[in-house]
Symmetry: C2
Subunit: 317 residues, 2 copies
């Protein structure tokens, strides 16, 4: 398999991207060929210095870079030679099987929508976050920001996408799906939650266990928690701030360390027809390595085929 | 001033309520007379044992109690002799100047709406939470649950109510008001936030500083953070779970200890014409003491008069 990596994206590019590539190649034995997309002048010396196995990667030159604060659509249009534009071009034309970037998130989303499109039946692709739990496993929370306003049907689709991701990537059997809400009982909530509950309850594709309150987001009560992207984004960023708090206050705790969401790498865009992974702007070597690993797992597990089947069978119901 | 206290509300009533009364009377020198509403048979022995200053309190007998899980409207209708019903009756008839209960929250809200009503001009009364900050001061977050679906104008009113509370009770000069959102810039957010931003910006009664992201909820960036009650409730409960986490994992940190939201006492219902304070069901002595203190501060600071003036002048604009 061939995994494409935007070497120019993120605050510490390309240095940390190269570190991630090296960490991946040094520690993961897999039949993976990495396609490193970036400015050769900056990239080649770093790659040479890193002494990577030359059979495991190739470099594709990009002469432009989309800045972190550029307007997404405008930037992609005006910079066809940017690493992000080239990455999507390669992905669309099947020169790579997955594309990863820690660059401009908006540009990544626009590129995803325009180049590779949503899976048939998926109304809104979504992004998620891993939720560390005290027993060492990971839950999943989605949407965490690209769908700030949702309809009940969107949340049901997030539940299906999250369920498949939890099963095939996080290896959780029959994942428990919870609806983020402000009370435990059916009949609690805002209009969206009230309308979503019965739809989740009647859906045969998922194992719906009911409402999940804020206090249970970090518990093992549900393996997948669905919400609109507004609340999801607020709690993700708040959880991140707890990690910074722990660092600032010298709180030494193994579990609190897991709130270092940047280390997880990035979030796949779920519901689109090819693997696209978007990293935090502040991604470091470990995050890049983890994103490559995730891309590999998404390809090996055939997650996207499973999502496609699921939405096709759903349409036929 | 006369402050009424429901001695039968909460999981540890009346024992912890009596402890709170004792702690208040023993430590706070104030011209406060407490009206203890509860079942005399249970209450009198505890009160005798506590050796309270007899000039500082009186007991009003209630023969019924509203259970924590009873249907609010039904319970209030069927139990006119309950401590909550009697409390609101006393408040309405000016026999007490404030009413406090850690009992059934729904019944407290229904009692509030029916007995004492909203201040003229206030569309939706609201509840808030204190937000502990590392510098020792407190921010305010509202709404935290009773208004799960809001219109932009509701959020503007929460901002005004929160601003006055922050100024007169938390003693913060010219409090900075933030809108909880998923991006820093104007033009980010869900439909509600997008529509609320310009209204806050143009409002002359508050010091609006812009959007506040999840990562800044605990910071000093804003003194008052407004949001609809869905997101507010989720983050409050999530923050509470961090406190439990710290306890469970033996994390010794002074700041993390402040996430013990129960200790703060309770939340006033802001926007109604008399002081009503609703406590957590699990309130202990300290929480009861703090609720009495808060009632005293609300009366002394003439907060409700200030809110009334503010909404009257707002109407005239």
């Amino acid at each position: 398999m061939r995994i494409g990596l935007d070497m120019m994206g993120g605050d510490f590019a390309p240095t940390e991207a190269v570190k991630g590539v090296k960490a991946f190649l040094d520690t993961v034995a897999a039949d993976v060929h990495l396609v490193l997309i970036g400015d050769e002048q900056q990239l080649l010396p770093l790659v040479a210095e890193a002494q990577l196995d030359q059979s495991k990667y190739s470099v594709v030159h990009s002469s432009q870079t989309v800045g972190m604060n550029e307007h997404p659509t405008k930037a992609l249009k005006e910079k066809p030679q940017s690493s992000i534009s080239i990455g999507f071009h390669l992905l669309k034309n099947e020169k790579i099987d997955a594309f990863i970037s820690a660059g401009n998130t908006g540009a990544m989303m626009v590129g995803t929508y325009y180049s590779i499109k949503a899976i048939e039946g998926v109304q809104r692709p979504t992004i998620s976050t891993l939720v560390p739990r005290e027993n060492g496993t990971y839950g999943l929370l989605l949407d965490v920001g690209i769908n700030a306003d949702c309809k009940p049907e969107n949340l049901v689709q997030f539940a299906i996408l999250g369920s498949l991701y939890s099963q095939h990537i996080l290896k959780i059997d029959n994942p428990k799906i919870g609806l983020l809400n402000i009370g435990e009982e059916e009949g609690k909530g805002n209009l969206l939650a009230l309308a979503t509950y019965p739809l989740l309850k009647e859906n045969k594709q998922i194992n719906f266990i009911g409402n999940i309150e804020g206090r249970d987001v970090l518990s093992e009560k549900a393996d997948v928690i669905v919400c609109e992207g507004f609340t999801g984004n607020v709690i993700l960023k708040m959880a991140e701030s707890f990690h910074e708090l722990a660092l600032r206050r010298n709180i030494e705790d193994d579990y609190m360390k897991k709130f270092d969401f940047e280390a997880y790498g990035g979030t796949p865009v779920l519901g689109v027809s090819k693997p696209v992974i978007i990293g935090h702007g502040i991604s470091k070597g470990l995050a890049f390595k983890n994103m490559i690993l995730l891309a590999q797992q998404m390809i090996e597990s055939k997650l996207l085929e499973k999502i496609k089947e699921s939405f096709v069978s759903n349409e036929k119901q």
